[in-house]
C-alpha cells in the first residue's frame, strides 16, 4: 500500500509540469465556483435582511385585543432563547391640528423598535436609541410630512390625539415595518407606547392591533419557529386562537414573490456554478487519465493487478482534486474581497460578503468524488488495459485500448448521474427543479455529442480546394474521434450554462423592473361613484392634470364554474382561519371590470381578445378574459364557463382569453374582465389614476380633490410602492450581477478546457514544425480548429440554453421569459474567442519551444 502511495505521488511530482498546469486550471475553475456561490450567499443574506426591515422583525404576533398574561408566558416559552421583543399598537384615529381634523394611523412603538432597519426622519436616519430618547420620553410625535400641511401644524407645533397634546417632533419619511398602503387614506403618526395608552383611545371596543415583534437569535429560522409557535398556541387555546402570526416573508406579497424568484434564481445560479465546476473538473481529469495511460500500461507490464492501477488513478485524482480544492478555497478568500472592491460602486449600502463554506465543501466533493465518478467508465476500462499497448508503435487512443462497451459505459455513468442529481436537488432545494435542470442538461449533452460527431462524417469529404490550414483543422476535428466530441460537449455545455442565467435574468429583470418613475402614476383614485366620473375628470383637468385608466369595478360573487356550484365544493384544509377566509374570499368575491382594449401592461397568453361589444341577440355567452395566474388558481382555462352573482343578478360568461398582467405597472388591473356591453348598468364604483403630479403639489392636489369629492379616496402611489421598488431594484441588480458572474466563471472554465485541448495538440504541432510547417500555417490551423469548435459548440450550447431557460421559466417563474440575443451573441463570441485565445497561447508556447524533444532521448 505504502509503495502505491509513494508511486502515485512520485508520478505526480515527476510530471511536475503537467500536474502544475492541471492544478492551475482546476483551481481556476473551482475559484469561479466558490466565488459565485459565496457571492450568491452574500446577496441572499443582504436582501433577506432588507426584506426583514419591511416587517421590522423576523416574526410578529398580533391580536385585535391586549395579550393575556397566559399568552405572554406561552409566547416567551416557545421562542428560542436570545429572542428580542418589542411591543407595538396600531390604530386609526381622528386627530386634531390647528387647522383641521384628520384621520391618521397611530403607530405606538416601544423601546427596542425598530428591531431591523432604521427610520428615516426629515432630520436624518435614526434607530432604537433615538426612539427611546425622543418618542418614549414625552408627548412627542413623528408624523408623515403630508400631515403637517393637512393639519396646518407648525414645526414643533401641537396636535391633539385623544385627550392628550403632542408636539410634532420630526417628520417621518420611512419606517421599517410600515407599508404605506394606507397613505392617502390615513397618514401615519408615530408616538410612544405608554403615551398612546394615556390618550384614552385604547379602551374596550377600540379597534386596534397589539403587536409583539420578535427578532430571533442568529441561526433561528423564522418559518419553522412560526410553525412551532402556531402549534403551541393551537394546542393551548384550541384551533382558533385570536392571535395571528406573520413572518417577514408574508409581510408583503409582492415582496415575497420577488424574493421567491430571487431564491429560485439563485438556486439555479448555484446549480450552474456547480455544473460548470464539475464539468471543468471532470473534463480535465479525463484528459489527465488519458495521459497517464501509458504509465499505467507499464505498471501492468511490471505485474500490477488491474485493480491496483485503478486505485492508483483514483488516488491521484483524489490528491489533485483535494489540492485544487484547497488552493481554490484559499484563493477564493482573496478573490471575494477583490470582487467586492471591484463592484463597490455598484454594491448596495451595507453589503457584507460572506464566504460560503458549503461551496468550499462542495468544491472538495466535486473535485474528488465528481471527477472520480465522471472517470468511472475509464477507470473501469483500465481493468481491460493490456500492456500490449506498449508494444504498439503508435500510442493508441484511450477509447480503443482501455474502455468498456457502449452499454457498460452508459451503465458506468449512472453513479455520476446519481451524484449530480442529488447535488442538483440539494443546491436548488427542489426535487423538481433539480431534476428538470439535470434532465435538460443531459438532453443537451446528447444533442451536443451528435453535433460533435458531425465533422466525423463530413470532415473528411470535400476538402480539396480549401486552404491548407482549413484542411488541416477540419481533418483534426474530423479524425479527433472521442476527443473532439468531448471538447464539443464541454464547450457547448459551458456556453449553455453561461447563457442560461442571463437568459432567465432578462425575463425576471423585466418582470420586477422598477417602472420608470415618470410612468408611475402619482395617485390612485378609488370609490368614485358612476355619476362622479365625468365631474371628477373635469375637475382633475381643471387642476391641470389628467385622470386616466378609469375603470369600472363591479363587485360580484363567483357562483359556478362550468355549472358546478362553488358552495358544494369542500373547503380546502387550510392552516389558519385567516388563510381560510382569505382563500374563500379570493375564490368568491371578485371585482369585475370591462374595457374594450388591452393595457400596455398586459399581454395575451392564450385565446383572442374581445372582438367588440357583446351582442345580446347572439346565442353565445359573453366573453371573459382572465388573468393567467388567477385562472390557474381557479383551475379554469379557455372554454370554461363562469357564473357570477352580480349583486342579485346572475351573469354568465365563457373564458375566451388569458392575460398576463405586469402588476408592477400600477395601473388598475383586474383578474376578470368582461366583454363590454354586459356590466355597464350594474352598480359599480370607479378607479382612476392621475399622473405627473409633482411631489410638492401632491398634498394640495389631494386636499382639493378631497374637498370636492369627499367620498373619493386617493392613494399616493409613490409612498405606497417606494420600499417595494427599492428592494425590487436591488433584487434586479443582484440577478444582473449574478448573471455577469456566471458568464465570467463560465468563461474561466471554458478557458481551462480550451487550454487543455490546446495542450493535447502540442505533440502534433511539434511534428508539423519539424516537417517544415511555417508559423503561419500552424497558427492558421490552430485558430481555425479552435475557432470552429468554439463557434459551433457555443452556438449550439447557447441555442439549447434558450430552450432550457424557456422551460425553467415555465415552471419556476410563472412563464416570464424574454430572450436576450445580445448576451447570447456575447456568449458565442466569448467562448469562440477564448477557445481561439487558449489555442493561440498554447501554440505560441509550443512554437517557442524546440521540437527537439521529439527526437529520441539524448
Amino acid at each position: 500500500m505504502k509503495t502505491w502511495v509513494k508511486l502515485a505521488l512520485r508520478e505526480l511530482i515527476n510530471h511536475r509540469g503537467f500536474s502544475v498546469f492541471f492544478l492551475a486550471n482546476l483551481t481556476l475553475g473551482l475559484v469561479g465556483f466558490i466565488a459565485l456561490d459565496s457571492f450568491k450567499l452574500s446577496l441572499h443574506e443582504h436582501i433577506e435582511k432588507k426584506s426583514k426591515a419591511i416587517l421590522a422583525a423576523d416574526l410578529a404576533v398580533y391580536a385585535s385585543r391586549p395579550f393575556t398574561e397566559e399568552e405572554e408566558t406561552l409566547l416567551a416559552q416557545n421562542l428560542p432563547p436570545g429572542t428580542q421583543v418589542t411591543r407595538q399598537i396600531n390604530f386609526m384615529s381622528m386627530i386634531q391640528g390647528p387647522k383641521e381634523t384628520r384621520l391618521v394611523e397611530i403607530v405606538a412603538v416601544d423601546s427596542g423598535y425598530p428591531l431591523y432597519g432604521e427610520l428615516t426622519l426629515k432630520t436624518g436616519r435614526v434607530g432604537a436609541k433615538e426612539v427611546q430618547e425622543r418618542l418614549l420620553s414625552g408627548n412627542r410625535a413623528w408624523v408623515q410630512p403630508e400631515l403637517v400641511q393637512l393639519l396646518g401644524v407648525e414645526p414643533q407645533g401641537q396636535i391633539r390625539i385623544g385627550d392628550q397634546d403632542f408636539s410634532v417632533d420630526d417628520q417621518l419619511l420611512e419606517a421599517p415595518g410600515q407599508n404605506f398602503w394606507n397613505a392617502g387614506i390615513a397618514y401615519k403618526v408615530f408616538i410612544g407606547y405608554d403615551q398612546a395608552l394615556k390618550t384614552g383611545l385604547i379602551r374596550q371596543g377600540s379597534r386596534r392591533y397589539h403587536y409583539r415583534l420578535y427578532k430571533l437569535p442568529a441561526g433561528a429560522e423564522a418559518t419553522p419557529t412560526a410553525r412551532a409557535l402556531y402549534q403551541a398556541l393551537k394546542a393551548k387555546f384550541g384551533p382558533s386562537p385570536y392571535l395571528y402570526l406573520r413572518t417577514y416573508s408574508q409581510a408583503n406579497q409582492q415582496m415575497s414573490r420577488i424574493l421567491s424568484y430571487l431564491n429560485d434564481y439563485l438556486g439555479l445560479v448555484a446549480l450552474v456554478a456547480l455544473f460548470l465546476a464539475g464539468m471543468g473538473t471532470a473534463f480535465l481529469f479525463r484528459s489527465f487519465l488519458s495521459q497517464r495511460l501509458k504509465d499505467l500500461a507499464i505498471l501492468r507490464a511490471l505485474g500490477a493487478k488491474p485493480w491496483e492501477t485503478v486505485w492508483l488513478s483514483v488516488f491521484q485524482i483524489a490528491v489533485l482534486g483535494a489540492v485544487a480544492a484547497l488552493l481554490s478555497s484559499l484563493l477564493a478568500q482573496l478573490a471575494l474581497p477583490l470582487l467586492v472592491r471591484l463592484l463597490s460602486t455598484f454594491l448596495p449600502l451595507g453589503f457584507v460578503t460572506l464566504l460560503s463554506y458549503k461551496s468550499m465543501a462542495l468544491a472538495f466533493g466535486v473535485g474528488i468524488l465528481g471527477s472520480a465518478l465522471f472517470c468511472l467508465p475509464l477507470l473501469l476500462g483500465l481493468l481491460n488495459l493490456s500492456p500490449k499497448l506498449l508494444l504498439q508503435e503508435t500510442p493508441a487512443t484511450l477509447a480503443q485500448e482501455a474502455g468498456l462497451s457502449t452499454w457498460a459505459s452508459a451503465l458506468a455513468y449512472l453513479p455520476l448521474g446519481g451524484l449530480y442529481w442529488a447535488l442538483a436537488v440539494w443546491q436548488s432545494k427542489s426535487l423538481f427543479v433539480g431534476s428538470l435542470f439535470l434532465g435538460g442538461l443531459a438532453l443537451s449533452a446528447l444533442a451536443l455529442s451528435l453535433l460533435g460527431l458531425l465533422p466525423l462524417w463530413f470532415g473528411v469529404r470535400g476538402l480539396t480546394g480549401l486552404s491548407l490550414s482549413l484542411r488541416l483543422a477540419l481533418r483534426n476535428l474530423g479524425r479527433g474521434g472521442g476527443a473532439s466530441v468531448t471538447s464539443v460537449i464541454a464547450l457547448g455545455l459551458g456556453a449553455l450554462l453561461i447563457n442560461l442565467i442571463p437568459q432567465i435574468h432578462e425575463g425576471l429583470a423585466t418582470e420586477i423592473a422598477s417602472p420608470d418613475s415618470t410612468k408611475l402614476p402619482s395617485f390612485f383614485l378609488f370609490d368614485i361613484q358612476p355619476d362622479q366620473v365625468a365631474p371628477l375628470e373635469e375637475y382633475v383637468a381643471s387642476l391641470g392634470y389628467q385622470a386616466q385608466n378609469r375603470s369600472a369595478m363591479v363587485l360580484a360573487r363567483l357562483t359556478h364554474i362550468n355549472d358546478r356550484s362553488m358552495d358544494l365544493e369542500p373547503e380546502k384544509q387550510s392552516q389558519t382561519r385567516e388563510e381560510e377566509n382569505e382563500e374563500f374570499t379570493r375564490r368568491r368575491d371578485q371585482n369585475l371590470s370591462y374595457r374594450p382594449n388591452l393595457y400596455e401592461s398586459e399581454e395575451l397568453v392564450e385565446g383572442a381578445w374581445f372582438p367588440g361589444p357583446y351582442n345580446p341577440a347572439g346565442l353565445v355567452l359573453p366573453e371573459l378574459s382572465l388573468e393567467v395566474r388567477f385562472a390557474e388558481r381557479l383551475g379554469v382555462g379557455v372554454g370554461d364557463k363562469l357564473s357570477f352573482d352580480v349583486q342579485g343578478v346572475p351573469v354568465e360568461g365563457r373564458v375566451t382569453s388569458l392575460r398576463r398582467v405586469r402588476w408592477n405597472s400600477f395601473t388598475p388591473n383586474f383578474f376578470v374582465l368582461f366583454q363590454p356591453g354586459v356590466l355597464e348598468d350594474a352598480p359599480s364604483t370607479w378607479l382612476a389614476t392621475v399622473f405627473h403630479v409633482p411631489e410638492d403639489q401632491k398634498t394640495g392636489f389631494q386636499n382639493q380633490v378631497n374637498r370636492h369629492f369627499t367620498n373619493v379616496s386617493l392613494i399616493n402611489v409613490t409612498g405606497l410602492v417606494g420600499k417595494v421598488l427599492e428592494i425590487a431594484g436591488q433584487v434586479r441588480w443582484a440577478i444582473q450581477v449574478m448573471a455577469f458572474l456566471a458568464v465570467l466563471a463560465g468563461l474561466v472554465v471554458v478557458y481551462s478546457i480550451a487550454s487543455f485541448n490546446a495542450k493535447a495538440r502540442e505533440t502534433e504541432i511539434n511534428l508539423l514544425k519539424i516537417l517544415g510547417a511555417s508559423f503561419g500555417h500552424l497558427q492558421g490551423m490552430v485558430a481555425l480548429e479552435f475557432g470552429l469548435v468554439g463557434f459551433f459548440a457555443s452556438l449550439a450550447g447557447a441555442a439549447l440554453s434558450l430552450g432550457i431557460a424557456w422551460g425553467l421559466a415555465q415552471f419556476l417563474f410563472e412563464r416570464i421569459f424574454v430572450i436576450n440575443l445580445w448576451i447570447t451573441g456575447v456568449t458565442v463570441g466569448g467562448v469562440t474567442l477564448l477557445s481561439l485565445f487558449a489555442g493561440w497561447l498554447a501554440t505560441r508556447r509550443t512554437l517557442a519551444k524546440s521540437p527537439a524533444q521529439l527526437l529520441s532521448a539524448l
Binding site: Q392, E393, T394, P395, A396, T397, Q400, L468, R471, R475, N476, G478, R479, G480, E764, L767, L768, K769, I770, L771, G772, A773, S774, F775, H777, S850, P851, A852, L854, L855, S856, A857, L858
Partner: protein
C-alpha cells in the same frame, strides 16, 4: 547538397543552478553531396542534439551549421521552416505519424505544406515505392510497426529532400522487419542519390553507410568498429 559543421559547441543547463553539461564540443563534420554517413554513439552521447542542430530545430552555442554554403545561424524561424520543408527529410525512431491522418495524407502533408501541386498524386507514388499501395487509406493505428515506418520513410522522401536525417529508423522494429526496412531505405537513398546522415547505435546498420563516425565526449571520431 553538402553539409558542414564547424566548431560546434552545445551545452545544456543541468539541474537547478547546477553546472552546465557540455554535450558537444568543438565538433567538426563535412558531408558531401550524395554521400551517406552513419553516426554511432551510446545513449546520451549527444546524437539527438546533433540531429536537432542540423535540422535547425535548435541553435548551437558556438560554431556554424552550413548547408550548401548557407549558415543556418543566419536564418530566421520562417526561413528555417521552409528549409525543413523543402530540403530536409527526417525519419524518426518513433515514426511520429499524425494519428488523425491516413497513410496517404501523412505523406502528402509535407508537400501540401510546401504548396506543391499534385501533392496527393506524388504521395501516392511515393507510397507505391515503399510498397504500401494497398494501405493508402489506413490510419497509423491500423498499420503494423514496419508499415508505419515505411509511411514515415515515404513522408521523408516525398519532398525529394537534399538531406535525409534518420534517427534509429529500425530501432522500434524486430530484426526481420528492420532488415527488410533498411534494405528498402538504402535502396531508395541510393536510387535518389540522396545525402544521408544516419544516427544509430546499431553497427550493422552503420556498416551500410559509406562512412561511419563515432560520437564520444562531444566530438566525432573515426569509427574503429
Amino acid at each position: 547538397m553538402s553539409l558542414e559543421l564547424i566548431g560546434i559547441e552545445k551545452n545544456y543547463r543541468g539541474a537547478k543552478n547546477g553546472p552546465a553539461v557540455q554535450v558537444l564540443s568543438n565538433l567538426n563534420l563535412s558531408l558531401d553531396q550524395g554521400k551517406t554517413l552513419a553516426i554511432l554513439g551510446q545513449s546520451g552521447s549527444g546524437k539527438s542534439t546533433l540531429l536537432s542542430l542540423i535540422a535547425g530545430l535548435d541553435r548551437p552555442d558556438r560554431g556554424q551549421v552550413i548547408l550548401d554554403g548557407q549558415d543556418l545561424g543566419g536564418l530566421g524561424e520562417k526561413a528555417l521552416s521552409s528549409y525543413r520543408a523543402s530540403k530536409l527529410g527526417i525519419v524518426f525512431q518513433q515514426f511520429h505519424l499524425l494519428p488523425h491522418l491516413s497513410a496517404l495524407e501523412n505523406v502528402s502533408l509535407p508537400l501540401e505544406l510546401m504548396g506543391k501541386p499534385q501533392a496527393v498524386e506524388a504521395a501516392r507514388e511515393q507510397l507505391a515505392q515503399v510498397g504500401l499501395t494497398h494501405r493508402l487509406q489506413h490510419f497509423p493505428s491500423q498499420l503494423s510497426g514496419g508499415e508505419c515506418q515505411r509511411v514515415a520513410i515515404a513522408r521523408a522522401l516525398a519532398v525529394r529532400p537534399k538531406l535525409l536525417l534518420a534517427d534509429e529508423p529500425t530501432g522500434n522494429l524486430d530484426e526481420k522487419t528492420g532488415q527488410s526496412l533498411s534494405d528498402l531505405f538504402f535502396s531508395l537513398v541510393e536510387q535518389q542519390q540522396m545525402t544521408l546522415l544516419l544516427v544509430t547505435h546499431n553497427q550493422e546498420l552503420a556498416k551500410r553507410c559509406e562512412r561511419s563516425l563515432f560520437l564520444f565526449e562531444g566530438a566525432l571520431h573515426e569509427n574503429l568498429g
